[in-house]
Structure formats: C-alpha cells, structure tokens
C-alpha cells in the first residue's frame, strides 16, 4: 500500500505535462540525487556514514519483549536499547515507555511547554517533491510577501503575544533568495525574541549571514533518510540532492547557529528506520558539537491541496507516540516539537509525556494571518497552504489549555548573544 501522489493539473502546458510524466515514470530521466549541484558546498564529515551504518544494520524484527524490558530498566539508554524501544516488540509496552519518558522530560524540562508559530513568507518552489503542496507542478495560488507585508504579518502575530517565530519559505532560491530571507530575519528580530528558519539548505557562509541577520535556529527536515526512497519522491530540483540536505545542520552549526532541528517525515518510507536515523543524526552531531542545542520534530504525512488522500499509512497515533517516547528516553536533553498536523487531543496528551514545544495560531498559507486571526476579510491576495493542519488553536486558547493540563506555557526562554 502506498499513497498515490501524482496529480496532473489542467493548467500545465503539454510540454510541462510531458516532462512531469517522464520524471515520474522514467528514473533515467532524473538527475543523480547523490551528486552535488554547482555551488553546493561539500562538507568533509563522518556523520552521514555513521548514521547510515546504524540505519542499514537496524533489524527491528530481531528485538524481543525481553530487550524492551531491559531497555526500560537501564538507567542510561544505549543505542541498542533505543533500537529495542523503536521496534514492534515495544508496542505492548507503550504505557511503561510513556511513564519513563515523562520522568525524563520532567528531569530536563520540568513542566514547561514552549510555544511558537510558523510564518510562511513565500510558497514558490522549484522542486517536484510529490507529497508536498508547494511542489512546482501543483496548481496553487503562489505568493511571496514583500517587506511591508512581512512586517504586517509579524505585527499581527506579535500582537497576539507570540515571542518565538519560525520563518519558512518554499524552496526557491530564485524567488526567495538568501538576502530576502535575511531581511525577513532582521524584521523578525524587531518583533520576536527568538527567530528560527526553515528554508532550503544553504552553504555555511549563507547560514553565517542569516545568523548575523538575527536567525539562531535552523530546522531542516531530511524527509527520509532512505536515499533510494528519497530519489523516488523528490524527482526534480535542488532538493533532490540528498547528501547536501543531510549536512545542512552541520553547516548551520559551522555558520554559528545556536541550535538545529531534525526530522523525517513519517509515512514516506520505513518509519522505524527513519526514526532511528533521525535520532542517530542528532546523537552523532551532539557528540561532535556538544555546545549546540538540538531538537526533533516528528511530522506525519498530511493531505495537501489537490490531493486529499495523502496519509501517513501505517504510522498511526500509537506508533507516533512510541517513536516520541523512544526519542525522549534515548535523548532526554533534546527538545521535541509536535506540529499542528496532529489533533488537539494528541497534542494535549503528548505534552504531558515528552513533547516540549508546540505551535499555536498556525497558518501554513501566505499572508493570511490577519484574516485567520481576526476573521477580517482579506483585502489582499493570499497564498495557498503547504499542507492541511489539524489543530487550529490560537495562542490564547493554547496557553489556557496547557495551563489547564497542569503544565507551564513558556513564550520565551532565549537570548540572542
């Protein structure tokens, strides 16, 4: 069973459609996804090799209930223990895992839950990633905010009380170049205490520039660590280059960013192997750069505009919860973010166990915060969303709900130094 990702738009020219179909059906027509494009910095790093060796040798079928029990008894969770906790054998132990995860979370984070919101400033994209609403063949309203519009959006968000923002773009260097993103960061520094970025991967010197503009946290989703599967899903564009994406966090660290975030998009490939690889990516980078703050996200596939059948396949809520608990037990010090892709019910539950950060007041569209926050009819065009969200709670509601769960909502714990 797999998702059917391919959707043809009536708006595409005959040539475009032909190219699209060839990309979809003829692997030899696609570029080598392991080869760097011109201008992409090649990092000499041993991290990828280590992570891949762990992922390739991970045979989750071999773990038994005995291994899982032992893992839960060990004071420090080893790599082997983590592998057991991620395996199907651990599924009957979900409650025990949650208890242990909650203990670790409380030791490292107490009762705090951080709140942030994403701000999409452009949805142009030069890539054909078959599961993404922004993909270049998808027929959506495209938009790029200008500086005034960005500032207006930021004011609306800041007025809601938000202090941490994550700036996102579609992956288009042409439409949203580094300088444009840098200007957005400078504006964000005026309105927010903490500015994060989730944009296309860039070179070290560009991360350095963006850091100087005010960004201090870089999120890059690897989507899947299985490079063969990655090749089948990212058919065209610079995002197709798998190894350049893999080293993005390390380049961001070298560029001076305080923290980096990681994720696989669960449902694209073998989720247990992807979850393992994501955690090992964090683990090895933390050993190499111990001063850096690290966090994990755990998004599942969602429906997109023009394709409402996309779903995370066998990654149900139970599996997601198992992954998050295993992450927490293996990497007790990392932040774990749970996105508005998940329901309010799931998010309320998981912040009591392991998640430390959630988004609120979310829109994955472009330029629509005022209409979404105030209900005021939009007087300017708006760009379409990257994916459908589930939990649409505002900051105010989220704040109250977190408090209602006996936890402490935190809007800022951060200094740009």
């Amino acid at each position: 069973m797999d998702n059917s990702f391919f959707v043809d738009s009536a708006h595409l020219s005959k040539e475009a459609l032909e190219k699209k179909h060839r990309l979809e059906n003829d692997p030899s027509f696609r570029k080598n996804h392991m080869e760097y494009l011109e201008g992409m910095e090649v990092l000499r790093s041993d991290i990828c090799e280590k992570v891949m060796a762990q992922m390739k040798s991970y045979d989750y079928a071999k773990y038994t209930a005995k291994d899982v029990k032992a893992a839960l008894e060990h004071e420090n969770c080893s790599i082997e223990d983590f592998k057991a906790l991620l395996s199907p054998a651990a599924e009957p132990f979900l409650e025990q895992m949650a208890e242990r995860a909650r203990l670790e979370t409380s030791k490292h984070f107490g009762n705090t839950v951080y709140i942030f919101t994403p701000l999409y400033i452009a949805n142009y994209c030069e890539n054909y990633c078959v599961y993404c609403g922004f993909n270049c063949y998808n027929d959506i309203n495209r938009m790029k905010l200008n500086e005034q519009q960005i500032e207006h959006e930021m004011k609306v968000i800041a007025d809601s009380g938000m202090e941490e923002i994550l700036i996102l773009t579609g992956e288009s260097r042409t439409k949203s170049d580094v300088k444009y993103i840098g200007e957005a960061c400078k504006l964000a520094r005026k309105y927010f205490r903490m500015v994060g970025l989730e944009i296309y991967p860039v070179n070290t010197d560009e991360y350095k520039y963006l850091h100087e503009c005010g960004a201090d946290y870089v999120t890059v989703f690897q989507e899947t660590y299985d490079s063969d599967r990655y090749e089948q899903l990212h058919l065209f564009g610079h995002k197709r280059v798998w190894p350049y994406r893999f080293d993005a966090q390390e380049r961001a660290i070298l560029g001076g960013m305080r923290g980096v975030a990681f994720s696989a998009l669960l449902g694209l490939a073998d989720f247990r192997k992807d979850a393992l690889a994501t955690a090992m990516h964090v683990y090895y980078l933390q050993r190499k750069y111990p001063h850096v703050e690290m966090s994990l996200s755990c998004p599942r596939l969602r429906p997109i505009k023009n394709n409402d059948t996309i779903n995370p396949l066998e990654v149900h809520e139970k599996q997601l919860c198992q992954i998050i608990c295993a992450y927490r037990i293996f990497l007790p010090y990392v932040g774990i973010t749970v996105s508005s892709r998940e329901s309010a019910r799931f998010r309320n539950g998981i912040v009591k166990i392991a998640a430390t950060k959630i988004s609120a007041g979310v829109s994955t569209g472009i330029g629509d915060h005022e209409s979404k926050y105030t209900g005021k009819e939009a007087d300017a065009p708006e760009g379409d969303e990257q994916f459908e969200i589930d939990d649409g709670r505002s900051l105010g509601t989220m704040y109250k709900d977190i408090e209602g769960e006996g936890l402490q909502p935190v809007l800022n714990d951060y200094l740009y130094v």
Partner: protein
Amino acid sequence: MKDDKLIIGGHEFSSRFILGSGKYSLKLIEAAVQHAGAQIITLAVRRANTKEQESILDHIPQGVTLLPNTSGARTAEEAVRIARLARELGCGDFVKIEIMKDSKYLLPDNAETVKATEILAKEGFVVMPYMYPDLYTARDLVNAGAAAVMPLASPIGSNKGLATKDFIQILIDEIDLPIIVDAGIGRPSQACEAMEMGAAAVMANTALATAGDLPVMAKAFRQAIEAGRSAYLAGLGRVITRGASASDPLTGFLRD
C-alpha cells in the same frame, strides 16, 4: 544561632536556601519564599527577557534579592554580555555565572567561568560562579574576585544528590569564601547532609518544582537546611563507622 548569617559580598542573609532557576513558575517562587524562607532567588535572564504578561520580574516579592544567571552563555564573553543586560534590566549587582558548552549534561566550563568572574568582579558585580568542584578552579575564582563558589553536587536536574561530596568537602575545607552547593540536590536529606559538611547554603529548584506538594516540600527543605546548619555549628559527634572501638586502648602498652 540568631547571629548566624550568610554573608555574600558584604550582604547579609539569614536564610541558607537559594531558589535555582531551572524550572520556573510563579507558584514555585511563592512557595520558595513563603515556605522555604528563600531570600535569594535565581532568575534566568533568558526567561526574564520576555513580553509575557506573567513577567517573573514583576512577581519577585519585596526584600528578596535577585540573582540573575547567565544561562545560555557558552563563553565568558557571552556571560559578561548577559550579566550587563541583567543590570540594565534592573536586576541589581548580583550575578550567578553559568557557562555551559554542553547541551547534554549542562556541565559548567570552569576555565571560561574564571575568565568571566574576573571581568565582572572588576565591574562591581557580586559574582557567584557555578562550577565543577575542582580545587584549583576554586582558588582561581577566589583570586578573580568571586563572592562565593558554587560547586555542583551532581548533574543539573538529576536529583542525584551529593555525587561530588568528597570534592565539595575539599572546597569547604580549603576555600575561605561561602561554598554554596548547587545542582543535583534532589531531597531534603541531601540538602541537610551538605549543610552538615559545612556548606554555607544550598540551591535547589527541580527538587521543589517536581514535588507532589510544592509548599510542603519547600518547608521540608527549610527544615532540613536549618537542621544541617545546626549540626554543623554544634560540631558532629563521634561516628563509629567500622567495628567497635577497643575497650583497652591499643596504645596502652606504652610506659613513658
């Protein structure tokens, strides 16, 4: 006992419990002041630097001394910048230096801590450095102008108690500044033990923040610290740790 004061940088305190900053909440501050008798409350500048309606700065009770810390600093230079920002925010002259270059264990970097202490002491701050209990570093901190030395008992947030007990004892014995045990104190009995050893004060946060009943745990800490202090001042009695002592002295055969 009445005149038994904790003196840090010329300031007098009667309480020997200091609230740490790890897991903050207004309820925790309230409990620490009312039930643990805290007169010094640590404040993470990174958390205070907020627009939040619930700004911690607005909720510090009168008469309580703020101890802003430099958490988030990875170098001496960053710690100095955060300390200066704290002063600008109106947090006073006390500063607790925390410099961590490890996001996993959050262990303090002693070398950078000494550097920051020297700079900030010269700028008139009352500097209280958080450190890994190492005698040489403690001596360097004294020379750098520290007002107290704050060795960690065990990894922060771990509630594991006095894992570094023997090394803290060396600091208590050799360093003329107040030794304030910081980080890892998980229960009142551990706080009591640190005070019996001669620590000048104890700092805790997680142990209270994660307790079932905050006010009751806060009170338990106050009692434990007072008991430990009294025991220290009284001078601990004879403790036989192994076997029984001989009724005839071993040296009884000596004639002159």
